[in-house]
Symmetry: C2
Subunit: 245 residues, 2 copies
């Protein structure tokens, strides 16, 4: 209708989720979702501003971007807003020294951060590093603090890889929250601050931006609370769960 | 005072927690807490009824009792109320076929239970079996159900072993609850039904029984909601956490 068309004309920027929207991740590196390489190309050609807004924490931004470039995506490191660099800013601002429970490939993001005598725990999507021993260790660091501080790189429940659904960082965050009776501080979607920093990178106000993702809570809910419109695409985990019933 | 003495005369039965009260568990089998072997002997000699009320799910009752007898405790299988046998009754009553995420040594408790084509997940303190792969597998079974059914053998946050604190089943229960957006049904302390079955074994009504444990939620809170008095002892995890600050 006319209202829709008027609204569409006000859109100046897109925030795009990556995992489950542009590609399905997996042990083999993952595979692009049909049409998505071309979609990114068209968005850029249209003159719309574009920022990739991801909770990816299984690799540094550099490595992540390289992988997606290898699949054909037109993407640069500066166009990616991701939790680990945001967490590093917070750690420095507040003098926090993290115990890291993260994926091996994310550790280089924290190279400049003092990690001696930890006074907080940072949890990301550690995948294979979510071992019984590592979870107990992170728990003991937290429970040993006078006032436990837990930073969680996202709150995802699960995601789809090429070999099936996997528990995401949010599930393990809940385990530590419960065990230590603390509430994690979320760095990444759906945190308002995280969306705001992605919008700032594009230089577009929330009313003129749309978030496109496959997660109703992290992508759609988070963006809406920020004053943005949001669209849920039915790829990624959406399809896996809804077609299994 | 006089009121206290009058109350003490009405006490006819004790429910005793085991882990952290009678002994500290551990990879080496664990060690009795000083004075506890003698305490059990005295309670029995006094004529008080006694039932051991435990959330232990790392072994069958038979194996568990054998271990404690080996430490010198006067204890029989019939005197132990534990989650796995209670869960088996529920599974049979409701025609539930479990996918088990439990300790290897607990599996014999479920020998008579049909486990083909699972329509629920049972989670216990799986310890080393809490691997990334096993958690993902239990998650996939749950998320694939029209209406996920999760039975949790207890809700403990953590417990003390001889080599330190360990995350308990409750933490992993929370992870699955969050990932699947379900609420677990608890079999074990602090469930009212569980305390009631322990009292029924002793043949003592709640007003005439005391629960003694080291966990403020599972032992003390659960027993009080059942109409019993409860005492928290300061051994086990109580000491570990409160002396580390």
């Amino acid at each position: 209708g006319r209202a829709m068309a008027a609204w569409a004309r006000t859109v100046r920027g897109l925030l795009l989720d990556v995992n489950g929207v542009l590609y399905d991740s997996g042990g083999d590196g993952g595979v692009p979702i049909a049409g998505s390489v071309e979609a990114v190309r068209r968005i850029k050609a249209s003159g719309l501003k574009l920022q990739f807004c991801t909770n990816e924490t299984q690799a540094t931004r550099e490595k992540f971007v390289k992988k997606l470039q290898g699949m054909g995506f037109d993407m640069s490191v500066a166009e990616v807003t991701a939790p680990a660099p945001a967490a590093c800013r917070i750690l420095k601002e507040r003098g926090l020294r993290p115990h890291l429970l993260v994926h091996d490939d994310l550790i280089p993001e924290f190279a400049d951060i003092d990690k001696a005598n930890p006074n907080c725990v940072v949890i990301g999507d550690a995948a294979e590093n979510f071992t019984y021993a590592n979870l107990n260790e992170a728990f003991r660091v937290l429970i040993g603090m006078e006032k436990p501080v837990l930073l969680s790189l996202g709150t995802g429940r699960y995601y789809k890889e090429t070999d099936g659904l996997k528990l995401d960082v949010g599930a393990y965050m809940k385990a530590l929250e419960y065990a230590c009776d603390v509430q994690a501080e979320v760095v990444g979607k759906p945190s308002k601050k995280f969306f705001e920093s992605a919008l700032a990178e594009m230089g577009v106000p929330p009313q003129q931006a749309i978030m496109i993702g496959d997660d109703i809570v992290n992508d759609v809910g988070g963006a809406q609370r920020c004053g943005m419109r949001a669209l849920q695409v039915r790829t990624g985990k959406y399809r896996s769960v809804h077609t299994s019933h």
